[in-house]
Point group: D2
């Protein structure tokens, strides 16, 4: 069996999650190819060496360009902050590698467009490109998509999608890189709003064609972090401006005509990682909550009227997506399982010569929706069309 050799660029929180994916996928699923965790890359040599040792990568390196140039690398997995995605991904694709790029695809539409072009050129030579919206691969979300495709909700008439966290409620939480536009691109909108845009498009099979929205910075100044680190450190003197949004509330219009209400916020006190989506149609409804990620709620309007109600499907049966490789019925999965499934599907697609999803085109379409929300917000919430791809 051939082996796919992986280089991971970046080693923050996402590096830990991706490492679990690379490590577990071949040990839990029957993959058509071996996976080798060849090298992890970071700017700080000591820190990245420690990460490599801890997470089980064979080597570490500090120059991603050199790594990309190596012949013994098949897949480049990018988990750096969004402002470096375009440069790395394009170089890797041009070097003939398969690329897995964490979401959001980029910080700007322009970058994402160049990435898509690079992916299209590379595809001609067999390189695959995939964006890391891993929540698609929570089994309940995949099942949600499958059930809509089977027609159980009928015509989609309304969608509600929200991603709520509360880690910024504390006004003394420091001015981290995620709160600075130059690094993060945007705030709650780009970070977690991107997830609910992608999930909406994924499960409905429709595109968000127009939006009207508002973005808000609730706490406008925060304590500075000390110099020497964009990520952490001791508080420097004084306060600085928060230059990204804390919350974004917007309404979207799907290609099929349905309205979608979106909310992305870091100020939902008590909500830790609450991504919820509900799709209402003329035959039924489906609802999902990431804080209860092993289940899916299904309402069937075609059932006996006396017995209608939301059915809580425990998505842990062997016939459910991805489950047969894991545990018996009723045994829970968690957050990182989506990262395992992402590796499974990428490896399978590479082996089959198929295109893995989410594609860069899908990643770009999320980017365009994000840009349209910002444009609308800057334009008194005027309805703003998403440019055709």
């Amino acid at each position: 069996m051939t082996a796919l050799r992986v280089a991971m660029i970046g080693y923050g929180f996402m590096g830990a999650a991706h490492s679990v994916g690379w490590r577990q996928a071949p040990r839990v699923f029957d993959l058509p190819a071996d996976v080798e965790m060849t090298v992890v890359v970071g700017r700080n040599a000591d820190a990245v060496a420690e990460a490599a040792a801890h997470w089980g990568w064979a080597e570490s390196a500090t120059d991603w360009r050199e790594v990309i140039a190596r012949d013994d690398i098949d897949i480049v997995d990018i988990v750096t902050p969004g402002d470096s995605h375009a440069e790395i991904a394009i170089a890797a694709l041009e070097a003939g590698k398969h690329v897995l790029c964490e979401k959001p695809l980029a910080n700007t539409v322009e970058e994402a467009e160049r990435m898509l072009q690079a992916a299209a050129r590379a595809a001609e030579h067999g390189s695959k490109a995939m964006v890391g919206f891993t929540y698609r691969r929570v089994p309940a979300v995949t099942l949600l998509r499958d059930l809509i495709a089977e027609g159980v909700v009928g015509t989609v008439q309304q969608v509600r999608a929200a991603y709520r966290q509360d880690w910024l409620v504390d006004p003394e939480a420091p001015l981290a890189w995620r709160l600075q536009k130059e690094h993060a691109g945007s705030g709650a909108l780009g970070d977690i709003g991107a997830h609910i845009i992608d999930m909406t498009q994924f499960v409905t099979g429709q595109s968000v064609d127009a939006v009207s929205g508002t973005v808000e910075t609730i706490v406008k100044r925060r304590p500075l972090l000390g110099s020497g680190s964009g990520l952490s450190g001791t508080a420097a003197e004084g306060y600085g401006d928060v230059t990204v949004d804390d919350a974004a509330i917007f309404t979207g219009r799907l290609s099929g005509g349905a309205l979608v209400s979106f909310e992305a916020t870091r100020f939902a006190t008590g909500r830790k990682n609450s991504l919820t989506i509900e799709v209402s149609g003329d035959r039924g409804a489906l609802a999902f909550d990431l804080e209860d990620l092993n289940s899916l709620q299904f309402y069937d309007r075609t059932a006996d009227a006396e017995r209608q109600g939301f059915t809580k499907i425990l998505v842990t049966e062997a016939q459910h997506p991805y489950i047969s490789a894991w545990w018996p019925a009723g045994h829970m999965l968690g957050y990182e399982h989506g990262f395992v499934h992402q590796v499974v599907d990428l490896v399978q697609a590479i082996h089959d010569g198929a295109d893995p999803h989410p594609t860069f085109a899908e990643g770009l379409s999320v980017q365009r929706v994000l840009a349209a929300v910002e444009e609308s917000a800057a334009n008194d919430s005027a309805w703003t069309r998403i440019a055709a791809p």
Copy 2:
């Protein structure tokens, strides 16, 4: 339209609830006969007069025997403590009245047997007798029974029934009449255990034929109440013995063979009025929780495997039991609605000449199970058969 004239004997908490039933039933439902709240009876003339005025009874009285002898009374509704049920009910039945008697039917099997005999004799002259297990008439419970009768759970294989409260967790809660065997007969067992025994028999259509159980007095001594009142008052000096159980845990065998686990307790910290029942069969399961009384959980093993799960049926649709007389879909009912439905069904049965349920025979059967639990508990939890009726 003829009027049914009602005398209510007793005016405690249950008197308030029954008064709602008599007041609301003819105003919400289309009854085949009018209802007149003629007289309420209690020992304390002032207090009962105040209750009559407050609750809308036309008169008050202090001598129940005189009231029962009146020609202008059709129905005697007994809401006194259990130790007086037998005497009043038998006298009322012998006087040709219809009788509605609060649960438990009596404090002893012997009393209940005499009541049943009186009811049988009175039935020959058209008098109806009914026991007040009103939880049967929570719409979700009625639906639960109907669905089992339709076969949706198949063969019943296990039942779990629990009634949990926590009002005795405080060790300084006083020694009220409900904690004294001479007045209350038993504690959690007779008070709330009676409900889950009746509900189990009602929804399954089977009898509890044998039991093995344990009863427990967790706080054995409590502050005495002052003299002058068995119900409330200032604490007298010192402490007295609690002579009833605080909790009863027992296992029952249904006539169809299934095992039932029962728990009745006043020490389930944080559980205020939590009556739960779950019936498992080879085709499905049904579950109910009184703290979420407008819904019923249904699991259908015959459904598409991929979509199985517990369906939360909101029992507020027009086609559900009792609902069409109330509010539109999704509008909640509460505790007292069962008392309204009880009046509706009693009046209908009287009008139709039919036998309302729960019958005194059903009340007696609960009594026998309670006695068997106590016998088992006194006999090292030995399995104890319930004497055939």
Copy 3:
């Protein structure tokens, strides 16, 4: 004890609910005045006579002007469709009556303004005016308001309020009066959107000062009802246009600066009467769901970090609003209890000479927000300020 004599104008679904309020309030609570259900008024003499008999009103009548002119009427309770509220309420106030007017206060801002002026003039002579946003008086909602006033959520930073039903999902549901702009004024927005606007303003103690929104008619043509009834009847030939919205999605800005996301819809498949509100602040959060109306969720950010979480308060304890007059802890209330509490508070206010809430000014402010939503929706969702009162 003096008696307050009530005339109720209208006898549809709301008439049934208000009748329960008038009937139960004096029988459950200790009111400072008696209540007499004197007369119910409707256009169809037979039908209103039947309603009077059924619901327990002493008389019926067909001319509301005559009834308002009677000396033996103290309170006029208006439960007609919104297009007649202004005329009746103003006349009743000018006749020196106290007025309880169902929500929405009127179909237009202009009507509501005239009603407020009438109420202000009448107040000089002691007449009280109240709007029927009864959900304020669900005990959990009252407690929610009280807890915010106590400061448990701190500074309000975000609010989410939604009212979701699904009775229009069926595309063959007929073109009832509620779907016709000339009768209903608006659709989901005015009918159920009004509730969440009022509740938001009530619980936060702040006003909605600006909105940006979208309204949508999802099913644009529906089967005509037969002639002879604006409310029901047999389908006439053909289809007619739905002239009100099916769903409204809008964002509001509170006077304190926080953003509110609102959704009102009749197309939320499987959601029967789901009014939800969540208030997030820098010290905590509170959340309520009308389909679980006996409880309130409270998150306390100031608690021990290890033990933080949403606490489900069962709002059935004696110390909770309105509860001590009802049942013991853990016994559920339902939909109509809010109507009872409304009567309790109105009677108390009349007795005390105090102003009952919601005032007509509050009703008008809801009307202005509704109008601003429609204006924004017609103006490409532009942010639209609510005119100062």
Copy 4:
């Protein structure tokens, strides 16, 4: 850093779960020693070689005695069926290895006693022995134990513990080894009842001192499996007797006096892997449900009365047990994480020279309770004392 070299004996479902534990622990946590997955042992050479390759064990072998004799093995991890635990564990301990033995410790009390003796002798030479009740290491369960130890529930007054599955509801489910007494020892009682006995003793810090119970085989005959495999295969002709229990219902008495209701069943239709425990005390209560394993319910009787209720603590904060090594707040863990934590704690204990829990003494105590339940069940549910250790 020294390495601990592991041999795993057995490779069924539990082998997969333990492999995840060994693989993930050193990659997620900072362990004081390396872990090497040296060899996996099974009777079928080809199958075990495939398991080794798939799960990442360096070697495979077929003779566990030879493996135990190897010098390069530090830890023997036993995941075979219960009837072989004693022989392998005792041999491994006598060979100076540390032993991790899956639950139940053994199939009989006698075996478990010999295992404890072997562990005691081996402890003198530094060998550690641990039983695999991994549910102790679900973070919410560890937190539950910690909170009880801190006194938040006060004096424990009642406990309810249930483990409910439904995989035997189908009467045509075949007669697998788990349904045969000679292999499995017992049925639901030993398999899943063992978990709730251990968890009860673990979280309360008390022992179950006496029991009264009933065991039941609901479906008494099942289709035979074909020869050639005790685990799976084609159905042979005819049916065979089920020789273990399908359900066990029993009541226990804790050393502190509280009653515990236990239920273990494989016939709870719709319940897939539902382990629930609720501990009620005079100061509060705690409740856990394995189907919602990232949360813990806490009721604080000492809180402000108006705000009491069950708080759903999301046990995903950095200050909660085991969490800081995993993901940010609100990111869910699943079933296998307990196996990772088990390795973490075992490795730490070996490094520290401390005794890891659950000890073999604790495993034996569970075995004694199981035996007492069977004895009670055979003796008309008579209360049966658990022999002192």
